[in-house]
């Protein structure tokens, strides 16, 4: 067995001396610390992975010890994987065109037509020019005792190049000294080559590219967003694209932009519900039609999946000679395609040594070794029923490399995914890759973890003549053009949930402070103020019944009240599954941020990660302290939004969301506290708490010193255009935001502005002599609240994606005579 770090005598190979030194110097504690650093940095960068079936994203797993490969050895691999990319592109062009490799007898037709990745709808009409079928390909490699061997080819929509970049950014910091002095090749040029390849040498305006993806819940959503940023290409969902006039278009606010290139991260069958899977809601009806017309380039071609058939492996050497006139450079894993009777006979005889795998990706592979006689017969019968659908492979023994485990550094088998892209002038190979410590080698999982960074060390022997681009921190180019309705919606909600979280945190801080005061020194005024605040909290957060039942007795808190009140407070702080709570708002805020992560700065994840941790630790006992830290985080987010985002249509919507939410909060807070507020000393306490919750206590004291009462407070929080917490201020900002968006100013905004302008703030504070309530104030605030709700609806109707999704209609039922 080959070990990457040590040679046969146990001596450290020169290439690995630096890393070996780090390992020796660190000791078990040092290694654990490196591992913890890695996790922290991954969390700060928000590097995430969503395992299939899991409810939420998980932190990406990365072993900080890199896999190191010598530049001279790499040159051989590079030639091999580039050859493979060219071979698969030529093969696919042939299979979807003249199919000459089949008629010439180089490839059995069953390997092609018997694989579900072969899409008849993708066949080129006779006479149509060939198109690029392969743009980005990946090859999984392992080093067997006989040398490097291909474990798997990924040509559908390969993932991992972005994770390779994310790994590098973290490992470069964890092993910064070693990283600096090791002469490692950079990853950035690959993404530049990819960008060049996509643009085909044309300006962004002339060659519009989109990254089609399955959405924020997909397995590799993080990576898709990162790629979008690295490539400067907007991330779009199928619902944001539409086919008309024989072309593909992207919906942006107020217009349609033609799309020339679709880089897809969606498996082919989901891409078009009209001509492919009818139940797909992720695709674009008519996409296959536009590709057939040649008005859009889909990369990789929708038919590329057929080349992921392991049954192809035995035929690749001959195909390579026929299509490229070259010998195949990289050997594949020894593979037998069961559709060939002689190969099947071999498989029967050697079942114990082989892994049997369905040719369809995702099918359950079976190890021959260890099967009982009955299982063996059953398996062979299944294969005999459709032999073309099975391949058998000999599992290679992989080389090992040091990996940090719970028990310190240990040697583990390693594999490597390489990436190749058609840059326009030729195939460019990523100088590095996605290393992994795979659990099994041939069980064809998705992304294998833990991952490893891959260091290719040493200058290139010959200059390639390709442009050298910046640093590893590839500069994200702003995505050209406008904001799509989906992004608009997510940004709007990001704004709303950020503000909602902030408002809820302030309110809860005011309440928990008052609750602590009351518990230490209970007095009737304090009790009344507390009651008013608790009631207001339930109303403002829309969490009824909430505190209501606990306050049923008009004069005292019920005997079991304190415990129940504490429990409700805890729920309002932390229960992320309950709408209206702080936990819920932060959770939704995070989800909204994840949905548009390609547009947000990396600092966002730093803040969101911390926020999550603080919220997880918060208790009712020292809620104030925890809430202060939550508020710190939320203010940092607001700062990022204010200082780090371009003032485009997207930012306008983010801001509009924040403004609407804040205005609604102030209106709801005033309505809940002042309309039915008790007279007397408690009134003052309530007013004070309201000003605290509305973040206006300083201004209020300064301006209205010695003028207690409700009217000045209303002036401060409703009509004061200079107070950034006042409703009038929010309406002014909304007017400005909406003026920068396409479409007319919503009627509801005018209505709210008018209502405020016409309000007599002294008159509305009058109490009804019988009930002691303030009906005029209630009417004013209720009206304002309704205007704001309507405004939110009008913005949604004008700018967001329609809820309506595509639906297949039943095909005609054939009826016989």
């Amino acid at each position: 067995m080959h070990d990457e770090m040590r040679d046969g005598t146990g001596a450290v190979r020169p290439l690995w001396a630096g890393l070996a030194g780090v390992l020796d110097g660190a000791g078990p504690d040092g290694l654990a610390a490196r591992r913890a650093d890695t996790r922290r940095l991954l969390a700060d960068d928000g590097v995430a992975y969503h395992p299939p079936g899991a409810e939420t994203e998980q932190l990406w797993e990365l072993d900080p010890l890199p896999l190191i490969i010598d530049g001279a050895e790499w040159a051989g691999l590079e030639r091999g994987v580039a050859q493979r990319a060219e071979l698969f592109d030529r093969l696919l062009r042939d299979l979807y065109g003249p199919r000459s490799v089949i008629t010439r007898g180089l490839l059995p037709v069953e390997v092609v037509d018997g694989h579900p990745g072969y899409l008849h709808a993708w066949r080129r009409p006779a006479g149509a020019p060939a198109r690029r079928e392969l743009f980005l390909s990946a090859v999984d490699l392992g080093r067997s005792p006989d040398g490097w061997v291909v474990l798997d080819d990924r040509v559908q929509a390969p993932s991992g190049a972005g994770y390779a970049m994310a790994n590098r950014r973290v490992v470069a910091r964890v092993l910064s000294a070693l990283h600096r002095r090791s002469g490692i090749r950079r990853l950035g040029p690959f993404f530049e080559a990819m960008r060049t390849g996509l643009r085909g040498g044309r300006d962004p305006e002339d060659q519009r590219v989109v990254l089609l993806n399955p959405g924020p819940d997909s397995e590799t959503a993080y990576e898709q967003a990162l790629l979008s940023a690295l490539l400067g290409v907007p991330l779009v969902l199928g619902s944001e694209l539409t086919v008309r006039e024989g072309r593909l278009w992207q919906h942006t606010l107020g217009r349609l932009d033609p799309v020339d290139v679709v880089l897809r991260r969606l498996d082919a069958e989901w891409c078009d519900p009209l001509d492919l899977r009818p139940d797909s809601r992720l695709g674009v009806p008519g996409l296959v039609e536009t590709a057939r017309l040649g008005t859009v380039s889909v990369l990789n071609g929708l038919g590329a999946g057929v080349a992921e058939n392991p049954g192809l492996v035995p035929f690749l050497p001959a195909l390579c000679r026929a299509l490229l006139g070259e010998e195949l450079l990289l050997p594949g894993t020894p593979t037998w395609w069961c559709g060939d009777p002689r190969a099947f006979a071999h498989v029967r005889a050697r079942l114990d040594e082989l892994v049997l795998t369905p040719v369809v990706r995702g099918g359950q592979a079976v190890r021959g070794a260890g099967l009982s006689a009955a299982q063996r017969e059953d398996l062979l019968a299944r294969i005999a029923a459709e032999p073309h659908a099975w391949a058998a492979q000999r599992e290679p023994v992989l080389s090992t490399a040091p990996t940090i485990t719970d028990a310190g550094a240990a040697d583990r088998p390693v594999a490597l995914r390489t990436f190749t892209v058609a840059s326009g002038t030729g195939w460019e190979v990523l100088d590095g890759g996605l290393g992994s410590v795979p659990a099994g080698t041939l069980l064809r999982d998705g992304v294998a973890t833990p991952a490893k960074d891959v260091w290719v060390v040493g200058e290139r022997a010959e200059p390639t003549g390709r442009p050298v681009f910046g640093t590893d921190e590839a500069v994200p180019a702003p995505a050209p053009g406008g904001v799509s309705p989906r992004v608009a919606e997510d940004l709007f909600w990001l704004g709303r949930y950020s503000e909602r979280a902030e408002d809820t945190a302030r309110l809860l801080r005011a309440v928990t402070d008052r609750w602590a005061d009351f518990q230490s020194t209970p007095d009737p005024a304090g009790a009344n103020a507390l009651r008013a605040l608790l009631t207001a909290t339930t109303a403002t957060t829309r969490t009824a019944p909430g505190f209501g039942p606990l306050l049923a007795d008009a004069h005292r808190v019920a005997p079991d009240g304190p415990a129940a009140i504490s429990a409700e407070l805890r729920s309002l702080l932390r229960d992320r599954d309950r709408a209206g709570t702080l936990g819920f708002a932060v959770h939704r805020l995070t989800r909204a941020a994840q949905a548009v992560r390609e547009l947000l700065s990396t600092d966002t994840w730093l803040v969101l990660g911390r926020l999550d941790a603080v919220l997880a630790d918060i208790t009712t006992e020292d809620a104030s302290d925890g809430l202060n830290r939550v508020l710190e985080g939320l203010l940092a987010l607001a700062g990022i939004a204010a200082e780090s985002l371009v003032r485009d249509a997207g930012w306008r919507l983010l801001d509009a969301g924040r403004r609407i939410e804040r205005a609604q909060h102030v209106v709801a807070l005033l309505r809940a506290t002042l309309c039915d507020a008790p007279r007397g000393p408690a009134d003052r306490l309530v007013v004070e708490s309201v000003t605290i919750a509305a973040e206006s206590v300083i201004t209020h004291r300064r301006r209205n010193a010695g003028r207690p009462g409700v009217a000045p407070l209303l002036a401060l929080l409703l009509t004061d255009g200079e107070n950034p917490r006042a409703v009038a201020y929010q309406l002014a900002r909304l007017t400005d935001d909406l003026a920068h968006l396409p479409g007319t100013v919503p009627e509801a905004l005018d209505a709210a502005v008018r209502a405020l302008a016409e309000a007599d703030l002294v008159a509305v504070t009058a109490r009804d002599s019988a009930s002691g309530t303030r009906p005029a104030l209630r009417a004013l605030l209720t009206g304002l609240g309704a205007d704001l709700d309507r405004l939110a609806d009008e913005i949604a109707a004008a700018h967001f994606a329609p809820v309506r999704g595509p639906r297949p209609y039943d095909p005609l039922v054939a009826v016989a005579s």
Partner: protein, 285 residues
């Protein structure tokens, strides 16, 4: 030689506006050695924004359309003039094993399972009795066709477009699509190439009665490779496909050639489909 004027009208009615409707139709008869098609076209109401035709991977005529005008009723009207010339039934006298042993590369894909006809339990066993050693292929295929006709009840509406061959084998009833699917799957289980064919069968009125409009229907049958060509048989009626049949399209199974399929954008929950087909003989001359 017989010439028909075929009119195939499909109307969808929705209970709410459909804002956009994308469709794919296989409603125009293909031209092949025993069938010629003239002046065929698809029309829609409302007018489509796009209507385009191409020849698909199986040589069928495939129509793409898109209607962007909000509508509650969509009519797809296909009309064509087709001349069929099937006076001679191709002989199929080679033993079936000999045919199986020498399938040409163009026909081999039709031996493979297909999306709607994966390898299914019971199919091979059902087909086996029709294939004793050395039997001429034509005889074997005709026997399979007759057995399907005898063993299963034709019950209109008993199955859906999503029914499987297993549903037919266990339920004992189906429609022409199911019968054709069973025959195709049965032939493939013996290693023989078989295709699914979509088309029409002329309905003759009872003696002395005039022919009514709209009584014809879309139909389906199967086609088997004989070693020299393709032989079409109709298991629903236990007949050799003759000049009363018009071929629309063929493929691996129904999924390759549905007469009409589509994707709509709507809040409508209910839709009703009505189909009428007329095959009118056109006098020669």
């Amino acid at each position: 030689m017989t010439t028909y004027r075929v009119t195939h009208r499909t109307t969808y009615t929705y209970d709410d506006d459909v804002t956009t409707s994308f469709g794919r139709a296989h409603l125009l008869p293909r031209t092949q050695p025993d069938q010629r098609c003239a002046d065929a076209r698809v029309r829609l109401d409302p007018e489509p924004d796009e209507l385009r035709e191409h020849t698909d991977a199986f040589g069928n005529r495939s129509t793409y359309f898109c209607v962007r005008r909000p509508h509650r009723e969509l009519t797809v009207l296909a009309q064509s003039t087709v001349t069929v010339d099937r006076a001679v039934v191709p002989p199929a006298l080679r033993p079936w094993e000999e045919v199986r042993a020498a399938v040409p590369v163009e026909a081999r894909p039709f031996v493979l399972p297909s999306p709607r006809l994966p390898v299914q339990v019971g199919v091979a066993a059902y087909a086996a009795p029709s294939f004793p050693p050395g039997r001429p292929l034509g005889e074997a295929a005709a026997d399979l066709c007759r057995r399907i006709h005898d063993d299963f009840d034709y019950v209109s509406g008993s199955t859906t477009v999503r029914s499987t061959v297993t549903d037919l084998l266990t339920g004992g009833e189906g429609v022409c699509q199911d019968f054709a699917h069973l025959a195709v799957a049965g032939l493939r289980s013996r290693g023989l190439p078989a295709r699914y064919v979509s088309g029409y069968l002329e309905t003759l009125p009872p003696p002395g009665k005039p022919k009514l409009r709209g009584v014809d229907a879309s139909h389906a049958w199967f086609s088997v490779w004989t070693g020299d060509g393709w032989l079409d048989l109709d298991p629903t009626n236990d007949r050799v496909v003759d000049e009363q049949f018009v071929v629309l399209a063929h493929g691996r199974d129904y999924g390759d050639v549905p007469p009409l399929k589509g994707v709509i954008f709507t809040d409508s929950a209910e839709s009703v489909m009505a189909v009428s087909v007329d095959m009118e003989r056109v006098e020669e001359g």
